[in-house]
């Protein structure tokens, strides 16, 4: 029996959710200890006896058993989940209550409640994202730090700060609460940030980054399984993630070098993800409003469905960027709009659009601003200017993959 990829990480989030149902969120640390314990046990047994037929069920059985143990032993010393009322107090009701907490549908709901709790408005966005990654996705502080290129101590601080707020909030977010739709907005935002960190982030480890993207998709899919959360806006978010993630396999070439959109082999794009993304984008059109997620998904769809760069409907892409600038303006959006204009109207117009970005000083340290100028200069034949801008971009590179790509580009001019 082979171990499925990231089994422990996946199960960690599910088991913590079930155990929090029993122990209460104020005992989150206890829930995490029990999970850690179950993993230790699995390791001891499986390494000599081999991986069981259904490893997830095995882990769950161990966690259940331990939970039963803990509740019996610490009944008087601790208070557990108030939501389970007195059912933990009698032997007659204890086992069924624990079984219930580990039921598939409970685990799903508890994961959602945990997700909504992590996105508490009192917590800064970077804390929300770190919490989601730690509790729901099973990433350790060190792993999060290396994905975000931040110090481990900083991430640990974010997590412990977040957990303090969680533990202080007597119970997990109630999905029937009046605040639901406001909180859903923060959840989507956190998942969007998580995805973007994976897709555009600074880490050089492409494996780590694609894991972040896939975790974001997994959690967004979890949202879609819950009707009240499956709004057109959530569908649009899910669509944009899939349509972007479809390109991940083509983003690096065989040598591990960055491959820009213009040079990617489109046959390497993940056709299944494209299909899923397009289906969700279609469903997302049911609403009244067009959100930034809708427009971003539509842009990604325009690329995903074009057979080549030349066959891309740049007219439509520029139009979509115009809309995005109207809904959610940012210098990075403006930069991408300028690149699309360069495709539609030629390099001169593209350069004009780049220079016209009003808050372009915010892109001062963003390597892809000078890189975009370099591309356009190259296309209009000014090799010296192109080389200069690519070199400048290489100097701003955030990791070795970016640096290698930009240096190579400069060398080719």
């Amino acid at each position: 029996m082979e171990l499925s990829e990231h089994l422990f990480r996946r199960e960690s989030g599910r088991l913590v959710a079930a155990l929090t149902r029993i122990f209460g969120v104020h005992n989150l640390a206890l829930a995490e200890d029990v999970v850690q314990d179950a993993f230790c046990r699995a390791l001891e047994v499986w390494k000599v006896r081999g991986v069981p037929e259904n490893p997830a069920a095995w882990l769950m059985a161990v966690a259940k058993h331990r939970a039963l143990d803990v509740v019996r032993r610490e009944q008087t010393a601790r208070t557990f989940a108030s939501e389970l009322g007195r059912s933990l107090e009698s032997e007659w009701t204890l086992a069924p209550a624990i079984d219930e907490a580990f039921a598939l549908s409970t685990i799903r709901d508890e994961q959602l409640r945990m997700m909504f709790s992590c996105c508490h408005p009192r917590l800064p966005e970077e804390v929300q994202v770190a919490l989601v990654l730690n509790i729901l996705c099973g990433f350790g502080a060190g792993e999060i730090a290396s994905a975000f290129l931040t110090g481990r101590a900083a991430v640990e601080k974010r997590i412990s700060r977040g957990k303090k707020v969680l533990a202080g909030s007597k119970r997990l977010f109630d999905l029937a609460d009046d605040e639901f739709s406001a909180r859903l907005t923060s959840v989507r935002r956190a998942l969007y940030l998580l995805f973007n960190e994976g897709y555009h982030g600074a880490s050089a480890e492409s494996a780590v980054r694609s894991e972040l993207c896939h975790e974001a998709i997994r959690l967004t899919t979890l949202l879609l399984e819950f009707r009240p959360a499956a709004s057109p806006e959530t569908l649009a978010l899910a669509a944009l993630m899939c349509l972007h993630a479809a390109r991940l396999p083509a983003r690096l070439d065989a040598g591990g070098d960055l491959n820009p959109l213009f040079e990617q082999k489109r046959s390497q794009w993940d056709a299944q993800l494209v299909e899923r993304g397009l289906a969700w984008l279609n469903q997302s059109a049911a609403g009244q409003t067009v959100t930034a997620y809708h427009v971003e998904a539509a842009i990604a769809a325009a690329h995903a469905t074009a057979r080549s760069v030349d066959e891309t409907n740049w007219e439509q892409v520029v139009g979509l960027y115009d809309r995005l600038m109207a809904i959610a303006p940012s210098p990075v959006v403006a930069l991408n709009r300028a690149i699309a204009i360069g495709q539609r109207d030629g390099p001169e117009r593209g350069l004009e659009a780049l220079r016209a970005i009003s808050d372009r000083d915010r892109l001062r340290r963003y390597p892809f601003y000078p890189a975009a100028i370099g591309e356009l200069e190259l296309r209009r034949g000014d090799r010296a200017a192109a080389r200069r801008h690519f070199s400048k971009a290489a100097g701003l590179a955030r990791n070795r993959v970016e640096r290698r790509f930009l240096e190579k580009r400069a060398g080719e001019c």
């Binding site: 422990f8 230790c40 390494k47 000599v48």
Partner: protein, 118 residues
């Protein structure tokens, strides 16, 4: 071919640490599986053995005093065993070098099983 007992020893703290994050636990697990598979493939695996609970009882002396133990804090608690077949102790030692417990600060004790050829 002779038989050798591998005793896996590791302190509790090191064991917790080797677990670290779920992802590390997974990697650790994969290394063990690969190592065992390799032993098996080369015909060295006589008995996969059994994992042992970390705590039990110790009975000692003529008084037959029973105490809890071994203690979890003990430096190198036996966590399990395996029986391998090898040409000689040198080969048994050589084979044990691939054991993942070594990466985590644990040890493998190698004991020849006594031959009963009278």
């Amino acid at each position: 071919m002779s038989q050798f007992l591998y005793l896996y020893r590791m302190a509790d703290a090191a064991r917790q640490d080797a677990m670290g994050t779920p992802e590390r636990a997974q990697q650790n697990m994969q290394r063990w599986m690969a190592w065992m598979r390799d032993l098996d493939a080369k015909g060295h695996l006589k008995d996969r053995g059994q994992p042992l609970e970390r705590a039990g009882k110790v009975v000692r002396g003529q008084q037959k005093t029973v105490s809890d133990g071994p203690y979890a804090e003990a430096k190198d608690l036996v966590g399990g065993f395996t029986i391998v077949e090898a040409r000689d102790i040198d080969q048994a030692v050589e084979l044990s070098r691939g054991c993942p417990i070594l990466e985590g600060g644990g040890s493998v004790e190698i004991r020849p099983v006594m031959k009963m050829d009278m």
